[in-house]
Symmetry: C2
Subunit: 190 residues, 2 copies
DNA sequence: CAATAAATTGAATGTTTGTTCAAAAAATAA
DNA sequence: TTATTTTTTGAACAAACATTCAATTTATTG
């Protein structure tokens, strides 16, 4: 059997960027052919159809996000300090040119009610929340860890929307400090 | 001159519902003709094009939301109690079948970076934040009112995303209570 | 009642959409 | 090398897309 000749990761990286920025519906196959350099037949052989390519793009993004998150917690600073760092890095991200919010969040909101993909994305978001819960449960009771994780997710979703339209980094950080007052923000003063 | 014969408000109401649920890109003119009962020519005469109809739908939704919000504050309970009620009503909304998040939020995230509509929607969101700030400044200093309003907006955005995929009302309420601990939630215990 | 102006109609426009497929090329296996 | 399998190619497809417009209907004006 002949070897796959295009690099799947490279193609997925480019497709993900386009889907992320433009959205599922507004991204045409034509545009995907151009950005990936593949011809129709290759894409359809490798991914089935547009939805298949999109699903793999979601996987690509989500798995990378989850790996990244786990790595940050494994750097063995305090859990809460790490959470502060993560949130502040999200704020920083949101201030950059071409900021596209979070691919999972955007896709979740765009997808139709009866699409299986919506559930699929939900489970990735639940996995992420689970990581926060797990980490916090080293410091708090299970109930408290769950509540705090829910509060963190609310803030993450919030800032990924807020950061999309407002340019005031400082305002977001103030909002985070107020809402997540139990985190060690003082370590980040200067 | 002949009178406009279709009821503009009715048409906008129906168009808004469709755009809100399905999104801008995925909503076809065909579907809009069907849902409004109008023929192509009528829509194009009255609204110019798809984007024109969408913009008026945004206006329709935003103005109604803003009026609604102001009314709630004019009922003259305490400001903070009113805010709790608003947030809890959003949570309740999110638990209902066919929940579509917030039309402004969804559209904001869907629209392309260089679309004028994105700024347009941003200014509506800023207006809403301004109302919270204004109300809170009757109780707090300007700086504190702004910070609290930002925190409220973060939570509203957060719950309108969180509520889209999670079915646990209780978890969201817990998150709100923790993050917005300075609000009089105790009035809502029973 | 005409005369005039505006709104409605629905067929038709030319693109763009996602997808297919037979032929060609490339890679592996014998 | 030859035979076999897999990938790539790019033209072609029907369906759906947003939009237009001349003809018709409806409403207002004089």
């Amino acid at each position: 059997m002949a070897k796959v000749q295009f690099d799947r990761q490279t193609v997925l990286d480019k497709a993900t960027s386009l889907f992320w920025r433009v959205g599922y519906s507004a991204t045409s196959m034509q545009a995907l052919f151009e950005v990936t350099g593949l011809k129709p037949g290759s894409v359809y052989l490798a991914f089935g159809n547009k939805e298949g390519l999109f699903k793999e793009s979601i996987d690509f993004y989500a798995q990378s996000s989850i790996t990244n998150l786990k790595n940050k917690f494994n750097q063995k600073q305090g859990v809460e300090q790490t959470i502060c760092e993560i949130l502040l890095s999200f704020v920083e991200e949101s201030a950059q040119a071409g900021y596209c919010s979070c691919f999972l969040l955007k896709s979740q909101l765009e997808l139709d009610e009866q699409s299986d993909l919506r559930e699929y994305i939900s489970s990735y978001l639940a996995t992420i929340e689970g990581i926060y819960t797990e980490q916090l449960s080293t410091l708090y009771s299970e109930d408290e860890a769950k509540q705090k994780a829910a509060s963190i997710m609310l803030h993450i979703f919030g800032l990924r929307v807020y950061g999309y339209h407002s340019n005031s980094e400082a305002q977001i950080v103030n909002g985070l400090r107020l809402g997540l007052h139990w985190l060690p923000w003082s370590n980040f003063d200067h």
